[in-house]
């Protein structure tokens, strides 16, 4: 008998046996361990966080989480750290940027897929080239553009930048989803009296819920974790969490690992929730078109 479950039959598709489940569990744990490490650290005191060998059993404390939002001044008074605003900024900027990118990207992709221009592929390629350069290469001209136009440090500036940043990806991904749809279905709708708006909103878009969800989540994760543009182009009021996180690393006493881990743990939650809510769509979106319908 194999370790892969009792009486496993040839070619039978069924629940995995204990053996496979254990192997998958172990691999999953390896992938998850850095995240687990951070989450554990966020509940540790400074001593526990720095202990060698690392402490796996310790008395958890919520002190770090409190210090994310309040710190003690030299006079011993509690003072807000502004981190609440930075969390709001991250959510607002990433949400608006992704929304904009997905709306524009979906419309553009529909155009590219259904009403191809002369030289359609060239246009698509040009759009993709915007993502071929590493951000660091374009940061100087972008910084200057933002300075001149006064967009520097404003919400609208960074939101537009993130929308632009995600647009290439959205257009390409959504175009591949539109290409998968049967044009017969759209022609049938036109024949039955639907105008172009209805064809797009009532026939095409509802079929691509999964694709839109997948595109949004990928764009969101990229935007959520973005650091370089946020560092240079946001101001005190529009700062996002990754930048704030980097700033919290200074101090006379070295890196405050517990505090940092607490910020990261909180920072994980929104993406985690969004991905969890959309996971069914996400899977369908990623595997869309791989199986003949």
């Amino acid at each position: 008998m194999s370790i892969f479950g009792k009486g496993r039959k040839k070619h039978a598709l069924r629940e995995a046996g204990w053996g496979y489940s254990a192997i998958c569990g172990a691999i999953g744990l390896v992938y998850f361990s850095p995240v687990l490490w951070i989450i554990l650290t966020s509940f540790k005191t400074r001593q526990d966080a720095l202990a060698t060998p690392p402490a796996f059993f310790f008395t958890p404390t919520f002190d770090n989480f409190v210090r994310v939002f309040y710190r003690l001044t030299s006079e011993g008074e509690q003072m807000a750290t502004g981190m609440g605003l930075f969390f709001f900024n991250s959510i607002f900027i990433a949400g608006a940027g992704v929304l904009l990118a997905v709306i524009i990207g979906t419309s553009a992709a529909y155009g590219f897929s259904r009403f191809p221009l002369k030289g359609n592929d060239t246009y698509l390629f040009v759009i993709l080239t915007t993502r071929m350069l590493p951000p660091i290469v374009v940061i100087v001209p972008i910084f200057l553009m933002f300075r001149i136009t006064g967009l520097s440090g404003s919400y609208i500036g960074i939101i537009l930048l993130y929308a632009m940043f995600n647009l290439a990806f959205s257009v390409w991904m959504m175009k591949s989803f539109f290409d998968e749809l049967s044009t017969d279905v759209e022609d049938a709708a036109r024949l039955e009296g639907a105008n172009e708006w209805k064809v797009f909103f009532k026939i095409c878009l509802p079929q691509l819920k999964a694709g839109i969800a997948a595109t949004s989540v990928f764009a969101l994760i990229l935007t959520w974790n973005e650091f370089l543009f946020a560092l240079l182009l946001t101001g005190n009021d529009t700062r996002t969490v990754p930048v704030a996180m980097a700033r919290s690393m200074g101090g006379q006493l070295g890196v405050d690992w517990g505090l940092l881990a607490a910020i990261i743990t909180l920072f994980l939650i929104p993406v985690f929730i969004v991905t969890y809510l959309l996971q069914n769509h996400l899977l369908r979106g990623v595997t869309f078109g791989t199986v003949k319908k």
Partner: protein
């Protein structure tokens, strides 16, 4: 009055001529079958007739009105796509309602028509499911339902049975006949399958390379095909087309086939115009060839052949014969065919009057 009249319709896609000067005239209430192999222009003709594609030239008249450049929704034409084109995100009920909502009908009228159509097509029990969960036959019926529910003047069916299995095909074919009879609408039915065309069509139009080759009733096409293409498309098993040459004298023409010289067919008079030595094609339907026991008793010409292969089809058997190196098929009832085994020699006969003759160069009939 004609429900649809198409004249000189041309449609290119790049360098490809999909429809090449199509003429079509379909009577009101007629069941017209458009027969042609894939890429003969059936789908493009349909898409142009209902307005999805704009023609390069030619005109389309619906009910006597020029609709060549009218928007799709004004044409009153419904079409069932080969792929069914169901809306996968809508329930079957919503699929049926969609065209009615576009027509801005009232709620009561919509639910009345949905009920009627579901009843007609036996879909009542599935209305709240998504099309993806329906069987192939049900999906087919939803597609038809969505077309019928608009009460169209003209219904175009584009190879509607291609995606169904053999049994369903048979049942659905009968269903089309019933719907046509009950609703009395004009139907044009595109198919690559001659059996579907012959059983369904009041008249059949045979398409080749985007052109109409011949239009006629099933009998006309079977008895008197205009060319070898139509002769080959209509009738199963396929007509035997055998190379032959013009022989005899100017006044008394004969043809020389590999297994004998013949004269006396309906083509005799016309054959006089062809020079001696002209290459011809001699056509004999497999059903017209009969086994001959005694040559003296048989009225028509006979020839000797060897049984090369047998294809039993249940009630009939197709015999593959070799007669002086040319191959031909004949059909016998099963009980009669058991006497003939592979490798056996036999004598066959046929009636010259039922044969066809074609010019080899052009493929057109000589009669």
């Amino acid at each position: 009055m004609s429900a649809l009249k198409v004249t000189g319709l041309i449609k290119h896609f790049g360098d490809v001529k999909a429809v090449d000067g199509l003429d079509l005239d379909v009577e009101k209430g007629e069941f017209f079958a458009l027969l042609g192999p894939s890429a003969s222009g059936k789908t493009t003709s349909f898409r142009t007739i209902c307005g999805i594609e704009a023609p390069d030239s030619g005109s389309i008249f619906l009910d006597g009105q020029d609709m060549t450049n009218s928007p799709m929704r004004d044409r009153g034409v419904a079409m069932v796509f080969q792929t069914f084109a169901l809306y996968p995100h809508l329930s079957i009920r919503e699929n049926l309602e969609f065209p009615l909502l576009q027509m801005k009908l009232g709620k009561a009228e919509i639910s009345k028509r949905v009920g009627e159509t579901a009843e007609l097509l036996k879909l009542s029990h599935t209305l709240d499911r998504k099309p993806g969960t329906a069987s192939g036959g049900e999906q087919q019926r939803i597609a038809i339902g969505r077309a019928l529910i608009r009460h169209p003047e003209l219904l175009l069916l584009d190879e509607p049975l291609t995606n169904l299995d053999a049994k369903l095909r048979h049942d659905t074919r009968a269903e089309f006949k019933r719907i046509h009879r009950e609703r009395g609408i004009t139907i044009i039915y595109a198919t690559p399958d001659e059996l579907e065309a012959l059983t369904l069509g009041d008249r059949i139009g045979v398409l080749k390379d985007g052109k109409m080759v011949q239009v006629g009733t099933p009998d006309e096409l079977y008895e008197a095909p205009d060319n070898t293409y139509v002769a080959g498309m209509v009738g199963s098993p396929r007509i035997n087309l055998i190379d032959a040459t013009r022989k005899g004298t100017d006044a008394n023409p004969e043809i020389a086939a590999p297994f004998g010289d013949y004269s006396g067919g309906s083509w005799m008079q016309a054959l006089k115009d062809f020079p001696i030595g002209e290459q011809l094609i001699f056509g004999i339907r497999p059903h017209e060839i009969v086994p001959v026991e005694n040559r003296a008793d048989f009225q028509g010409p006979t020839f000797d052949a060897e049984v090369h292969m047998t294809e039993p089809l249940g009630d009939v058997v197709i015999l593959d014969l070799i007669a002086n190196q040319s191959r031909l098929k004949m059909v016998l009832p099963e009980e009669q065919a058991t006497a003939y085994q592979v490798g056996m020699k036999m004598t066959c006969g046929f009636d010259v009057g039922s044969t066809q003759l074609f010019a080899k160069e052009t493929g057109t009939v000589i009669r």
